[in-house]
């Protein structure tokens, strides 16, 4: 069929373009699965050399396996609005940290619990020993936790926990996942971070992707945001994984079509709009006071803070609206698809599928 061949070629080019954009580990079959082999010798050599102790900015990239990502996101989402946490296992490869697997820890994380990991040590030891017996000899290489609804960044407690970890358990990585934003935006919201050691000033200001932070957390964010840096995250999967995932799509498309992001994120969107309103009020107050200030002083310079405040608010509102519009588009499409008899009442055509097939 002409349509299927053109669709397959367009999807093939789209796939190549996407792979290029996201630097997915290439499609060479034998090398792809090599990543799963745990090289004892190379790893112990790396542990002894410790190249990361001299350069605080040593690790630049993170590669997450499909399995680890899936497990982390599902676990984060299952917590609902409670923060959950877990550990990640993997290895290092040059300046890249590879995350092969992740497992959940049975602790309820709240913002104020610094030592949640102390409770989970027994669990961790048990889990690691059982894992070594089933051909997973990798060591724990980081921890992840969720920030449901307020973005991917490290809070003050997180920063101190991570600094402690980086002193004693190197190499160690911190990953934060926001399951609420994931569902609302339709793409995974995840961030990987490493802290700088105490007193170290980063040579240049790292450019990080902008994300909106709720008003009640923005102070915590601002105080600590210079103490850590974000790493690039890419994903990899084995050849069997990609084969299975391709086939999964055959059963999966129903779920894609039937998902309604508007319904799922209704509370979150309402919360965001409230937050934006508060921020707007704050910006207005700031602006009113600062305006007189800038007249009194003789400086002709634009006042930076409230300028970018309003721009930030504008960006946030556009983002939220864009997501909402996407959700509405899905609803409208579904309505046209499945309720189309309303639109075809006048003609003698029978309902629904007929027009689609002939088109």
């Amino acid at each position: 069929m002409a349509s299927s061949s053109s669709s397959s070629s367009s999807s093939a080019t789209a796939l190549r373009r996407w792979e290029l954009e996201n630097q997915i580990v290439g499609s060479e079959e034998p090398d792809r699965d090599l990543i799963y082999w745990y090289d004892e010798a190379a790893n112990s050599r790396a542990q002894q050399e410790k190249p990361w102790s001299t350069d605080p900015h040593f690790f630049k990239k993170v590669k997450v396996s499909a399995l680890a990502l899936l497990k982390m996101v599902v676990h984060a989402r299952s917590g609902g609005s409670i923060e959950v946490m877990g550990l990640m296992q993997g290895k290092t490869l040059g300046d890249t940290i590879l995350v092969m697997d992740a497992f959940a820890l049975p602790v309820e994380g709240t913002e104020t619990r610094v030592n949640a990991q102390a409770d989970a040590y027994e669990y961790m030891v048990d889990y690691s020993t059982t894992n070594k017996q089933v051909a997973r000899p990798e060591n724990v290489v980081g921890w992840y936790h969720s920030h449901p609804g307020y973005g991917c960044w490290l809070s003050g407690i997180d920063v101190s926990t991570q600094m402690l970890n980086q002193q004693f358990q190197e190499p160690f990585l911190a990953v934060v996942i926001d399951p609420t934003r994931t569902v609302s935006a339709g793409k995974v919201d995840i961030g990987a971070f490493r802290t700088y050691p105490q007193g170290y000033k980063p040579p240049d200001d790292p450019v990080s992707e902008y994300q909106t932070i709720p008003l009640n957390k923005i102070e915590d964010f601002g105080v600590h945001c210079k103490q850590y840096y974000a790493l690039d995250i890419t994903y990899f999967k084995s050849s069997l994984d990609s084969h299975l995932l391709d086939l999964l799509w055959n059963k999966y498309w129903v779920n894609t079509l039937s998902s309604s992001p508007i319904l799922a994120s209704r509370d979150y969107v309402a919360g965001q709009i409230f937050d934006l309103a508060d921020k707007l009020e704050q910006a207005e107050n700031q602006m009113a006071s600062a305006r007189y200030g800038s007249y009194m002083s003789s400086s002709q310079r634009k006042k930076e803070p409230e300028e970018s405040q309003l721009t930030k608010i504008t960006r946030d509102s556009s983002k939220i609206t864009a997501e909402q519009v996407h959700g509405l588009m899905s609803q409208v499409i579904k309505d046209i698809l499945f309720n189309s008899s309303r639109y075809h009442q006048c003609t003698a055509d029978p309902s629904g599928p007929e027009p689609m097939v002939e088109a």
Binding site: L67, V74, G186, V188, E284, A288, L328
Partner: protein
């Protein structure tokens, strides 16, 4: 040995389980392939052939956990198990330990059965199956075929139950295949999409996000269209008499058509339009905010440019 199941239980499988099993298999294959080359690694104790033989990659074994509600069995997660190839049994202590660990994190799930890889059910599997029967009186067996055949259209995963059949006068347990559906939560779907498909990994501009979202929906609709076409062609062929009439299929198609339009009540229309209006309102608000921001910029620039003329006058804030 396997005929279709008649127990009437519906199975729902989560993609996480599939990725779990695949990862376990890939790991083991990688380890055994390389342990044949390096001198110091001990081969893992999982059952199967020795590491150096590339012809038969080792089988992996594990446990599937989930919930059973009435006649629906939902498989959420899985974990690996140790298999003793000499006695052909699963390591019991290990299983209890792992189960305990998983119970702490996922208290609602319990063991539903076990999984393995291979192309078909084997005789030895029945022994393992029986040993699990004391945990769950009707365990399920999930089999994944790890061979990558590119022309394959279906998922190479089958779910088997056991039934008591009378063969040659002896009641025997045999494996029967059951059908299953793929079930997913929204977050799972998004991450699977993310890893498997065409989605941008970073924020991107609004245009790329829109493109990604619509591409997803477009591919789903394309699948729907192709399926409907197949049905249509089948029906046309039936009408022409090329294919013998199948009344049950015709009944199913008729019931499907009767279900359209999906929802037609007044209330739905109202709700739908209300949501539409809400979204339009949001867009309006956002545009408004945008305009305010731009206007603020203009005013700032204006004030700076003409500031010297109004140093005395006390011009009020032009907001």
């Amino acid at each position: 040995m396997a005929s279709s199941s008649s127990s009437g239980i519906t199975f729902k499988l989560h993609p996480l389980v599939i990725v779990n099993i695949s990862d376990h298999y890939t790991r083991l294959k990688a380890q055994t392939l390389h342990s044949g080359e390096s001198s110091s690694c001990a081969p893992p104790s999982n059952g199967g052939t020795a590491g150096s033989a590339l012809s038969a990659p080792p089988r992996v074994f594990g446990c599937v956990i989930g919930v059973q509600r009435g006649r629906t069995v939902e498989i959420f997660n899985s974990f690996e198990l140790l298999f003793d190839s000499k006695t052909h049994t699963l390591d019991r202590a290990f299983l209890e330990k792992k189960q305990e660990l998983y119970k702490k994190v996922f208290p609602t799930f319990y063991i539903l059965g076990w999984y393995s890889t291979g192309s078909d059910v084997e005789e030895a599997d029945m022994l393992i199956h029986r040993s699990l029967m004391d945990i769950n009186e009707n365990p399920i067996y999930v089999l994944l075929n790890p061979a990558i055949i590119h022309s394959q259209k279906d998922l190479p995963i089958s779910i088997y139950e056991t039934e008591l059949h009378v063969i040659d006068g002896n009641p025997q347990l045999i494996f029967v295949k059951s059908s299953y559906n793929i079930e997913t939560v929204e977050a799972e779907r998004i991450s699977v999409d993310h890893v498997a498909h065409l989605k941008p990994s970073d924020g991107g501009s609004a245009a790329t996000q829109l493109a990604a979202h619509l591409t997803g929906i477009h591919s789903a609709i394309k699948m729907l269209n192709s399926r409907v076409r197949v049905l249509h062609q089948y029906l046309v062929a039936m009408q022409r008499g090329e294919i013998p009439l199948d009344n049950s299929l015709l009944r199913q198609v008729l019931s499907l058509l009767r279900r359209l339009p999906a929802i037609e009540s007044e209330k739905f229309q109202d709700e739908f339009l209300m949501e539409f209006n809400d979204t339009l309102l949001m867009t309006y608000l956002a545009m408004f905010t945008n305009c305010t921001g731009t206007m603020n910029d203009v005013v700032e620039k204006f004030n700076i440019a003409y500031d010297r003329h109004s140093r005395r006058g006390g011009r009020t804030a032009f907001i």
